[in-house]
């Protein structure tokens, strides 16, 4: 219980720091704190496999990607500008929207049994880290490769589409165009290189 409150303080503080930091690198550091705290929260929710995935995928892969892009962009000409402060104009509608949304949330959860829940699955709730209880790696893997195999395969397709899209977008500035002219140029360059090599 105490752990939850400590973690939620960390989560909210680092989220606010991430959004309000002047430099994107500070945002990345705040996001790292946020993801680490969230991984501990996942352990408290009996989701040990997803806690590890959170550390590996988010903190390990996605944040490193952000750091590389920030390093790549800020090594060029223009430094980042924080931009105009939009908070004074937006604060009144923002507070209104948030209060309305929390009102809807409270109304939806007030007397529904969604939150209370009931045990409906074969796996049993047990201590975190014990084998073959709800949320353990064996339980997760069994569900992923039997009942939810199709979503898992679709995930592979999504990742492949993302890889191809990234390579197309940012891979090469002058893509290879298979035209007759280009082929002739390549052939001439090769011939010249061979001739030069013969002279040496």
């Amino acid at each position: 219980m105490i752990g939850f409150w400590v973690l939620s303080v960390f989560l909210i503080a680092s989220a606010i720091w991430c959004v309000s930091a002047k430099k994107p690198v500070y945002s990345v550091v705040a996001l790292l704190v946020n993801f680490a705290a969230l991984a501990f929260t996942y352990v408290g929710l009996n989701a040990e496999f997803l806690a590890v995935m959170q550390i590996i995928v988010y903190s390990g892969a996605i944040l490193v990607l952000f750091v590389f892009v920030i390093a790549l962009l800020s090594s060029g000409v223009a430094p980042f500008s924080a931009g105009p402060n939009r908070l004074p104009k937006a604060i009144a509608p923002a507070i209104f929207i948030v209060l309305v949304a929390f009102g809807f949330l409270y109304y939806a959860l007030k007397d529904s049994n969604v939150v209370a829940g009931a045990a409906k699955s074969a796996s049993q709730l047990g201590p975190v880290g014990a084998p073959n209880v709800f949320g353990s790696v064996a339980d997760f893997g069994k569900a992923l490769f039997t009942v939810y195999l199709l979503p898992f395969e679709v995930t592979a397709l999504i990742l492949m589409v993302a890889v191809i899209g990234v390579v197309l977008l940012a891979g090469d500035q002058t893509p290879y165009v298979p035209t007759q002219k280009h082929a002739r140029e390549v052939e001439r360059e090769m011939r010249e290189a061979i001739l030069k090599g013969g002279e040496r």
Partner: protein
């Protein structure tokens, strides 16, 4: 002593709205992408909360899928940012208007 699910719902909605505020208030595309990651994580927290409330690991599976989609989204978004920066020399999303009619 377990934490009630309502507390997790409140925490996730607070993080989600901080992410919304980041997307709306900041004009740096990198910070906007990070705010979107915050919102993904709030959704994941809700998935896991209700998965434990119902002792049903469908929530775990779909949180896993959300992590995958977030990774793909970050990769493509950052590629777009790099491509725009190569031509515009600018990373303010209000200044990028070459697609405007």
């Amino acid at each position: 002593m377990t934490v009630p699910a309502v507390d997790y719902v409140a925490l996730a909605s607070v993080i989600f709205f901080i992410g919304v505020a980041g997307v709306l208030l900041r004009r740096n595309p990198l910070v906007m992408l990070m705010s979107i990651e915050l919102m993904f994580n709030a959704a994941n927290l809700l998935f896991l909360t209700f998965a434990r409330a119902w002792v049903n690991n469908a929530g775990h599976i779909f949180a896993f899928l959300v992590i995958t989609v977030a990774a793909a989204e970050a990769a493509i978004g950052l590629a777009i940012v790099v491509t725009v920066f190569r031509t515009e020399k600018n990373v303010d999303v209000d200044e990028v208007r070459s697609l405007r009619g």
